[in-house]
């Protein structure tokens, strides 16, 4: 087997002058000589310091003392080194093969999709569970601060209306959600429909004026609060906020936008968008909440009907929700009826009409 001889340029590291040299790959090493054959440098293959192989780029060998030899035909050098038994690294071999590239593509997509669907929610559940209550409350205060003025206005309820609602909720919560820390905040909004309530991280429940007015004197208010306290007990809003923050951080990495304020607003609105499973759990909690206070599940059913009908009154404002993944009102009503006494509730809302496709409890978040 004859040794491979290649053309190269030697740079001494002191000036940019180029000296033409010959590079020979022998059985155990690499030798640099002048074109006339005088030896200049020699190195054993297992001590070779060489740049990565690429298809059409030169390769550079660095010698002790800072001299660099640039071999113009990098591919020929790679072949000679391989023939002499020098193996490329795993990554180098991966990036030389189309099959490996295709496999990498499939694996990357699978990991990204899987991470979003399973990894992120799991991580967020763990973090939300270990997060100290004080940190959750601070998150909630931050969310409220962002929403004040953007979505919320001061309440127009009288002191008497507020304390009456507070008293009824406190009585029910003593039995329905014993030991759960929560705080009621009354606000109004110009958004339609204004019949609504929200759970924020740390146990703050925002109740809108219209909800109190439209449910005056009946248990639908308790049903809605029971639903929100379900979100509180299960840390749903903390999880949503963390999930949005995780996606936000990832996309920020991709697009490099770290302006804190601009990033916080979409995150807060995304927080109010619960998953299908979270809404269902909170509905079930609302039924259990009412059962614990000796009431039936019917107010939950009626509250859903109320929310559906006010949303219909308000009409679908704004952009159509193309990517809605929320449970339909039919699904939610069916589940509530299943948990209670089906005969009490009937098959549709008393106001009649078709059910709306969107989840009214979250309508304000759009």
């Amino acid at each position: 087997v004859s040794d491979t001889v290649l053309e190269g340029l030697l740079f001494d590291g002191r000036t940019a002058a180029a000296t033409p040299v010959r590079v020979t790959v022998t059985g155990g090493g690499l030798r640099v000589t002048t074109p006339a054959g005088e030896p200049l440098h020699e190195v054993r293959l297992d001590q070779l310091v060489i740049t990565e192989p690429f298809a059409s780029a030169p390769r550079q060998v660095t010698f002790a003392g800072g001299a660099v030899v640039e071999v113009t035909d990098g591919a020929a050098l790679t072949a000679a080194l391989a023939a002499a038994g020098l193996r490329a690294s795993l990554v180098e071999r991966l990036q030389q093969r189309w099959l490996a590239a295709a496999a990498s593509l499939v694996a990357s997509v699978a990991l990204l999709v899987g991470g979003y669907l399973y990894g992120l929610p799991a991580a967020v559940r763990v973090v939300a569970a270990v997060l100290p209550a004080s940190a959750e409350r601070r998150l909630g205060e931050g969310v409220l601060e962002v929403l004040e003025g953007r979505l919320f206005r001061p309440t127009a309820l009288s002191e008497a209306e507020q304390s009456d609602a507070e008293r009824r909720i406190a009585e029910a919560a003593r039995l329905g959600a014993p030991g759960l820390q929560y705080r009621l905040v009354f606000r109004s909004t110009e958004q339609k429909p204004g019949v609504n309530a929200f759970a924020l991280p740390g146990g703050t429940v925002v109740i809108l004026d219209e909800l109190v007015r439209r449910t005056a004197g009946d248990d639908r208010l308790l049903a809605v609060v029971g639903h929100e306290l379900g979100h509180v007990a299960r840390h749903h809003s903390t999880q949503s906020l963390l999930r949005a923050a995780g996606v936000g951080a990832f996309t920020s990495l991709l697009w490099g936008d770290f302006s804190g304020q601009a990033a916080s607003i979409p995150a807060v609105f995304a927080m109010l968008d619960y998953s299908r499973g979270a809404e269902r759990e909170a509905d079930e909690d609302a039924v259990r909440f009412l059962h614990a206070t000796g009431r039936s599940a019917k107010p939950v059913f009626d509250a859903l009907c109320l929310l559906a009908s006010v949303e219909r009154e308000a009409g679908t404002k704004g952009l159509p929700n193309i990517f809605s993944s929320h449970p339909t009102i039919e699904e939610r009503l069916a589940r509530v009826r299943e948990m209670g006494q089906p005969r009490e509730m009937g098959h549709s809302c008393p106001e009649g009409g078709a059910f709306l496709p969107a989840d009214p409890i979250q309508q304000e978040s759009r």
Binding site: T15, A18, E52, R138, S252, L253, G256, G260, Q261
Partner: protein, 401 residues
Amino acid sequence: MTDLAEPMLETHPLGPTEPAGGPPPLEPAPQAHNIRLKFTGTGGEYFRIWIVNLLLTIVTVGIYSAWAKVRKTRYFWINTQLDGAVFQYHGDPMAILRGRILVGVIFVGYSLIGRISIQAGIVAAVVLGLLAPWFFYKAMRFKLSNTTWRGIRFGFDSTVGAAYGALAPAVILWVLLSGVSADLATLRPGDKPNPVPMLLVYGLFLALVPLLHARIKRYQHGATTCGSHKFDFEPSTGAFYGLYGKTFLVALVPFVLASIAVAVSVMAMGKPAPESKASFVAIMIVSYVVFVLAYLLPGSYFSARLQRLVWARTHGGPIRFSTSVGMRGLMRTWFKNGLLTLLTLGLYWPYAAVNIARYQIECMTVEAAASLGSLAAGTQAIEPSAAGDGAVDFVGWDIGL
């Protein structure tokens, strides 16, 4: 990712001035000669590098991104040829990883603060603005001192003080902008915003952008060294004002046309019925396409003219630069590659990066009235910290060109 587009334009100026007691003068060349830059990378090869980098970055939860950056940069550098020799990138992945972790902690803290309280977020934004010149200085040093050509190391001959001096007006404006945003963000419902300070600051900002840009470029190119030879950048504030002014005029035409097109398409649809997803989607698509086209024209005009402006004014003694980058060529390259990247859901991106780099690199010419072989090595040390490098990567700040 933006530095991909110009993997070498920003870092490889060569040439001497005569620092006192300094380096040997360049040997005169037999005759002045023009050397074109050559790019030998291919989309297919970079695609494989990119996808393996992506997979390993995901699998290692981001840790590999430091190695990925080095592999990517090496690929673009070593496929760039000047006068028969290639560039080489020596960035140490461990240093880059340490820099990224440090900067990651700072930025995650910043973004969390912004979520918890708007006021605290604004204070954090001001602090980051004050750190920016230091990051910029460190990033330039790291990038250039880790680049060699023919065994000669590039460098960034400056000090932290000089960086703060050069970037001071930009930092002051950033602090003012943050203050105005703080004022807006803390408004309570029903409060009337006072528009005067906001308009003043935004007006000042717009009026000073060309000046700031000229200062940054002058600082960047004026402190760059190749071996012992230092570069110079001619004062060019007037040229930058001219560039921004002309770009504004170029932008006006498609902007007016785009607005008319969108208005017509909205009217043609009639009042958009909220239930009608089709009309909504149609309007979205029309507006999007029109605005992309409206961006492409002034965007490519600005970028092409900027590259010409900057390279025509960068020189070191007998070594000068020029680029034949043109608006039409750039627009064609961006449009074709951007469209294919969109249509392939991003899979064409590595091909696009290679195509854009090739176009810009092969437009470059080095005009040498001296023998490049007589460039001597300098005495500057390699910058060991990649904190600044991590920071500019994080915010996507293009320190290129």
